[in-house]
Symmetry: C2
Subunit: 350 residues, 2 copies
Amino acid sequence: MDRRTDRKIGIKDVSREAGVALSTVSHVLNGTAPISTEVRNRVLEAARRLGYLAKRQQKGAIASLSTVYLAVPPGNLPHNDINLVSWTLLTALSRECERRGTKVVAHAGAPELNAAEILAGAQAANAEGIILVYDDNPKLLRALAASGLAVILLNGEDPTMSVDTVAPANRFAARLATQWLLSRGHRRILHLTWRGRSTIMRRLDGFRDAYAEQNLPADLGRVLFAEGYEPDHARTALKRFIHQHGGLDGHTAVFCAADNLAIGALAELQEHGFQIPADIAVVGFDGVAPGDLTVPSLTTVRVPLDALAVSTLQALEQRLSLTGLDHPTCRIELGCRLIERDSANFTLRT
Amino acid sequence: MDRRTDRKIGIKDVSREAGVALSTVSHVLNGTAPISTEVRNRVLEAARRLGYLAKRQQKGAIASLSTVYLAVPPGNLPHNDINLVSWTLLTALSRECERRGTKVVAHAGAPELNAAEILAGAQAANAEGIILVYDDNPKLLRALAASGLAVILLNGEDPTMSVDTVAPANRFAARLATQWLLSRGHRRILHLTWRGRSTIMRRLDGFRDAYAEQNLPADLGRVLFAEGYEPDHARTALKRFIHQHGGLDGHTAVFCAADNLAIGALAELQEHGFQIPADIAVVGFDGVAPGDLTVPSLTTVRVPLDALAVSTLQALEQRLSLTGLDHPTCRIELGCRLIERDSANFTLRT
DNA sequence: CTGAAAGCGCTTACAG
DNA sequence: CTGAAAGCGCTTACAG
C-alpha cells in the first residue's frame, strides 16, 4: 500500500489495480455494459480500496448546502452555562460545516424560540436548511416543517415525526450501561436523573429495559429525580436520599443520566465517606469531560458528538435533495459506547 | 418549465438557468474559488431545480453494491404464510435492488438462522453486504457484525447496536394513532397486540405514551394480548374478552398492532352485533391491504415499506463506504401516516 | 472483455 | 465574476 493519498486517483488507477481494461471499469461504474459478476466485484473492490468510490461519492454530495441556520434555545447556549455537552456538540457541528464549506448563521432571537422569528432569520440569511438543537416543542416543529424548508432536529425527539431528527440512541445506550452493571453483580442500582427533555426519559426507559430483559423485579432499579442536571442538583438529591434512608438503602451503584450529575454524585458520596467504587459504583452519561477530571475517573457512556454532527449535515442534504417528493421523515439514532474507567471498576461477589 | 427530462442536463444548462458564467458554476460546485453567497445560492438553486444536483449525487452513489445477501427467518417467508406485510416488504426490497442493478441472493438454510451459514452463503455469493430481515437474535447479530461485512437489520431492533438497523417509527406512529383516537373523544381504548418481536412492543410503548402525554390515567388504556398475529388469534382473544366482561367493558375503540389482527377484530365484533364504528372504532397497523378488503374499510397506520427498502440500501452503501472507520452504528426509523377510512370514522360526544 | 481512438463534459488558469 | 481556451478524465462506439 504505497499509494499516495495526495495524488488524485482516477479510473486508470482502478483499472491497473483490478487488472482490467479502462473501459471495463467505466462500464462497471455506470452499468453501461453487461459485465460478469466476478470482474465486476474485482473492479468495485479495487475502486473501494483505492478510495475512488469515496471520492466520487464526496463529489456528488458536495456543495449542495451553502448556508444553514442554527437555532439553539438560549438556555443551552454555551456562554451562559457550564454545559460542556452543548458546547462540544455545537463545536462539532460548526467544525463539520467548515469542513464542507457550509456557512453557519446562528439564530439570535427571544429567549423562547419562535417559529416566525426563526423562519424570518433563515430567510434573511439565505439559508437552505435549519438545524434546531434540543428544542422539541411540537408546535414549533410543526410550524417549521410546514414552511417547506429543510429542517433537522438535533438531539431531540419529535413524536409527531414532522421533521427529521438525529440523536444518540439513548434508550439502547442506557440499557447497555445498566446491563453492564447487572453483569458485574449489581442488583440494586439507583438511576439518578431529572425531568428534562424526552430524550432524557429514554435513558430511563433503557434502565428499566435492562431489568426487564433479565427478568429481574423492576423495583430493584429505583429512580431518583434531581431538580436539574447540574452537579449541585445531584448532591442535593443524594443528600436527601441518604438522609431519608440512613444510607444507600442497599444500592451498590448509581447510574446517572448525565456526567454533570455523576460529578456531583461522586462528590456527595465521598463526602458521606463512601468508597468509590468499592462501596458504590458510579456511571455517567455523555462522555465529553476528560477522564481525569474526577477522582476516581468516571466510567461513562460516550455520546458520539462528532458523528452526530456529520449525520445531521448528511440528513439535511438528503432532505434537501428530496424536496418535492414525499419521502417520510426519518429519525436517526447513533450508537454510544461505554467508557470503562475507575468509578465503576469493581465486581461484586454474588 | 419546458425542460425535457430525457436530454442530459449539464453545468452549461445550470449556468444559463442561473445567469452566470460556466466557470462560475464549476467553482461553486467544487469550492475552487470564493464566490459571493448570493451568486452561490442562485447557482445551487438552479442546479437543484434542474435536477443536476440529484443526477450528480446519483452518479456518486451508483454501483457500489453489486450483490446483497438476503436472510429472512423462514417463518416469515411469503410462500408459507398469509403475511402480506412480509411479502410487500420483500417485494419492495427486490424492486429497489433491481432499480440499482444490485443482485439479490436469498439465503436458504436451516429453519433457525445461523451466523456461520449466513456468512458462508454471503461469501459464496460474493456479496458485499447482508440484509437481515426481522430477526433480532442478539447472538446472531453480534456474530454477523464481527465478520466485518456490511450488515443491516431491516424491520427489527438491535439493542446492542452491533449492526445498523432500519425500521418504521413504531413507537411514535402508535402514539399518533392513539392520540388521534383520544382527540376524537375516545377514552377507553383497547390495544390488541401479541407477544411478538420487540418492534411490536414499541407500538405498545407508543400507546401508553399517548395517555401519559395527555395526563390521562394509564389504566384507561387496556392491553389485550392475542396468541399470535393472525385474524383468528384476534377473534379468540376478543371472544374471551367479551365473554369475561359481558361486553366491551366500556371500551369505544380497539387499536390493533397489526392489520391482520384488525381484520379478525372487525369480524368478531360484528358477529357480536356491534356496529363499527358507531359502537366501537377499529384501527389497524401496517397499511398494506387494500382499503376495500374489509367492511367497513379499515383505518390504519401505513408503514412506508418502499421508503424502508430505499433507506436499507442507502444505509448498506453508507456503511460500505465507511469500511475501516469506526463510525458508530445507526438506527434509522421512518415516519408512518394514519390512513383515515371508515372503521374509525366516528367522533364521540364528550 | 480488451485496447486504441474519438468525443464530451467538466475543470482550471488567466486576462479583463 | 466573465469568457475564451487549454487540458484532463471519463464515456462511448467499435474491431478483435
